[in-house]
């Protein structure tokens, strides 16, 4: 649900979404090296596929967002990767909108960067013991901020959207919990199985 369709938000909001996205992209793409591209694309595709997986929540089902996980594994490159995933989702799979690519990237990508900061700071001393717990915090916080962004954007667009914003926000509470547990599990799994996959693992004292 964090992918908002065309025609809902006011132009001021989605245009500023593009501006913010282009600025962050320009900054992160400069840091990216050509030899990083295959690795980053592969992880982007894996995140894309993983976010299609459904989990039953009572009578309905939810799917993963995994922007926290993107932040934990990709670091600052999470932003361009999420941008690519959202472009593909809107053009090739018709999920989300085209005018909203910028703002959708902000809603998903900025929380991913925050998740990376949390994970990096939290696991600086002992990544083996703390990967699980800080992965969980990063995952939960990322989804919470995403939903917060979306609700704020809906409410600023018009009062008519107030009810929808409240419903969307409350529907995401179970997803925040699921996402936290899953991201924690996956982060702990990576530290055990293949730590070099984590961007934050480099330069950490072992």
């Amino acid at each position: 649900m964090v992918h908002i369709s065309d025609g809902i938000l006011s132009p001021g909001i989605w245009i500023s979404g593009y501006v913010i996205t282009i600025v962050i992209l320009a900054f992160t793409l400069r840091k990216m090296k050509t030899e990083d591209i295959p690795r980053l694309s592969v992880i982007t595709a894996a995140i894309f596929v993983a976010s299609l997986i459904h989990i039953p929540v009572g009578p309905t089902s939810a799917h993963f967002l995994l922007n926290g996980l993107a932040g934990v594994t990709l670091g600052v490159f999470a932003y361009p990767c999420i941008f690519i995933a959202i472009v593909l989702q809107s053009f090739l799979f018709q999920h989300g909108g085209i005018t909203t690519i910028g703002i959708n990237t902000v809603n998903t990508g900025v929380p991913a960067l925050i998740a990376y900061a949390i994970f990096r700071l939290g696991t600086r001393k002992d990544i083996h013991k703390r990967a699980g717990i800080f992965g969980a915090i990063a995952g939960g916080v990322a989804v919470t901020i995403s939903v917060l962004f979306l609700s704020i954007e809906l409410v600023t667009t018009g009062e008519v959207f107030e009810n929808i914003a409240i419903i969307i926000a409350s529907a995401h509470i179970p997803i925040i919990i699921i996402e936290a547990i899953a991201t924690g599990t996956i982060a702990a799994f990576f530290v055990k199985v293949k730590p070099e996959i984590l961007e934050g693992y480099k330069g950490v004292k072992r």
Partner: protein, 252 residues
């Protein structure tokens, strides 16, 4: 797992298929933005008609498009159920403006999705990528789009293998901790596998002379026909807003 690729009908012959990819992307993208920026129901409906006309010219089967439209409708549906009703001092009242607004959103969203098909469904994905590069989209972004797109289908298959092996060991998805942790580890495994695969693939590509530049046999050349088509579609995009302007002037 079942999936349909967007360029499944690239082999058809139509005026839109024969349009220069760069002009096609720029023109139709302009039309999409133009329609989304409309705020009158009548003009949005006209935009939808333009979208359907372009779709019909492109000869892409309607059934294929409908199958993709269901996501958009699913997303907009809650707006219809919630927006017309406003809660005033504990009483629920019906608000016709809310209904009209929801309808406007639906029309704009559907038009945008329909226009995607004539835009990129009428050429091979490689041509789209090449056109993006020619349109000065940064090379790193174009490369990432190509790689990611190819890998998505590989990983859908890979994950369905993982999923099947979980099922065969008696795993059932329920609302509990065990399900989330198991799926979490399955996703972790997908990442590890894909990470190792990317290293192998990248080394293989380098040894075959990959430098990061795209090499395709597509030749792009703007002919008179391409300019005419661009003029027509751009005309639609600008015309919608001119109409809005005229409409607005008459009101005063």
């Amino acid at each position: 797992m079942e999936y349909i690729e967007i360029d499944e009908y690239h082999h058809l012959m139509s005026p839109i298929h024969q349009w220069d990819p760069r002009a096609k992307i720029v023109s139709i993208l302009t039309l999409i933005f133009s329609v989304v920026l409309l705020y009158d129901l009548e003009l949005a409906a006209l935009g939808l008609i333009f979208a359907v006309i372009l779709l019909l010219i492109s000869k892409i089967p309607l059934k294929f498009v409908m199958w993709h439209l269901r996501w958009v409708v699913l997303f907009i549906l809650p707006f219809f159920l919630i927006m017309p009703f406003a809660v005033l001092e504990g009483d629920i009242t019906v608000n016709p403006e809310g209904f009209e607004y929801a309808f406007l959103i639906l029309i704009k969203a559907i038009s945008a999705v329909i226009l995607i098909f004539p835009m990129i469904g009428t050429m091979r994905f490689n041509s789209t990528a090449k056109a993006l590069e020619r349109l000065k989209i940064p090379n790193k972004i174009v490369q990432m789009i190509i790689f990611t797109y190819r890998y998505i289908f590989v990983f859908i298959d890979e994950f369905s293998d993982i999923s099947r092996s979980l099922d065969s060991r008696g795993f059932r998805r329920r609302t509990n901790m065990h399900t989330i942790r198991t799926l979490g580890k399955a996703i972790g495994m997908l990442f590890v596998k894909s990470y190792e695969r990317s290293e192998r693939v990248y080394n293989a590509m380098c040894s075959r002379g990959y430098t990061g530049n795209l090499k395709t046999f597509d030749k792009f050349e703007m002919m008179r026909n391409d300019w005419v088509k661009m003029f027509i579609v751009m005309g639609m995009a600008i015309g919608l807003h001119l109409l809005h302007f005229i409409y607005f002037m008459e009101m005063i």
